[in-house]
Symmetry: C2
Subunit: 183 residues, 2 copies
């Protein structure tokens, strides 16, 4: 099995890719990416998610339009990505919901972060680029994909072969995020 | 770099380990695990987290007591783990907060799910076991670690060498979590 050094190299390589090549994603790669999402852990194994793969070009471009803003000049790259993965938040099971209520936490959102990152790391291992998008016209996305109005859509992940010349590493700060035995 | 098959094998191997050996964690392994957490992506790169490593045995056992319930008979394994990682939710930056408010989402919780899973996957690659705990006496944990009352503590991760004979794989259902181009 892979060792720690190998995984850390992949984790270090992953970034949010905001430019994509006009190259389709192989079916077997996409299936392994979805399998990685499926295998994500969740509170009380509730799996409070549904993944919608949007790969029909016309529909995908409509979803891309929901993620970009003419006013703010944001996210115009999303149309380049051949596939969008739309993550729908589903109702958790009884024990997870009880924990959320009693402990005043929202476990499904944490769970969806976990699953989304399984997807992005697996994509990176498949030489695919991804970008998680949290800012989009949610009502319009729900209408386009026939998602019930009562559901929430926390994230859309764009996916495709990255335009490598545009890869710029986000450097992380080291300061003060780690401490030992006390805040 | 590692390929998709290798990573999927690791993802498939990872589980929530609820029994640990009485073996300390090597410093360099723990450091790579923390580095994996540090490199996690977050909305607008806000990094809304702080990781507290609890490795002093007496203090760690007190934290373990906060995660187990005599009444419900829950989580008595936590005391076996030599290290607990306590994840504190920190204030996000302006753009992430604006997105959370305008789009009615809580990006920091998604971010913390992402970082927590970087930690658990890296631990798995280091042959360490982990279990994310969401149910614990949060006020008591904050008091023990001098965490300000205003902060939230979404997760505690137990970490140690797993007692392998107890490893039981949670099987995931495949049903209906993936669809194409429509809900």
């Amino acid at each position: 099995m892979i060792n720690g050094t190998d995984l850390l190299e992949l984790i270090n390589y992953r970034q949010s890719d905001r430019a994509y090549l006009n190259t389709p994603i192989e079916k077997e790669k996409l299936e392994r990416v979805l399998e990685a999402g499926r295998l994500a852990p969740s509170a009380c194994n509730a799996q409070p998610w549904k993944f919608i793969v949007v790969d029909k070009q016309e529909l995908k471009n409509k979803i891309a339009d929901c993620t970009s803003s003419k006013v703010l000049g944001m996210n115009h790259f999303t149309k380049q990505a051949p596939v969008h993965l739309v993550i729908v938040e589903e109702r958790a099971n009884f024990t997870s919901n009880a924990g959320s209520v009693i402990k005043n936490k929202q476990f499904p959102l944490i769970d969806i972060g976990i699953a989304a990152e399984h997807i992005c790391l697996q994509a990176a291992a498949e030489e695919l680029g991804t970008c998680m998008i949290g800012w989009f016209d949610e009502p319009k996305v729900k209408k386009l994909l026939n998602i019930p109005k009562s559901k929430r859509v926390p994230l859309i992940i764009t996916m495709g072969y990255p335009a490598k010349e545009t890869r710029e590493k986000h450097r992380k700060s080291t300061d003060k995020i780690i401490s030992y035995n006390s805040y």
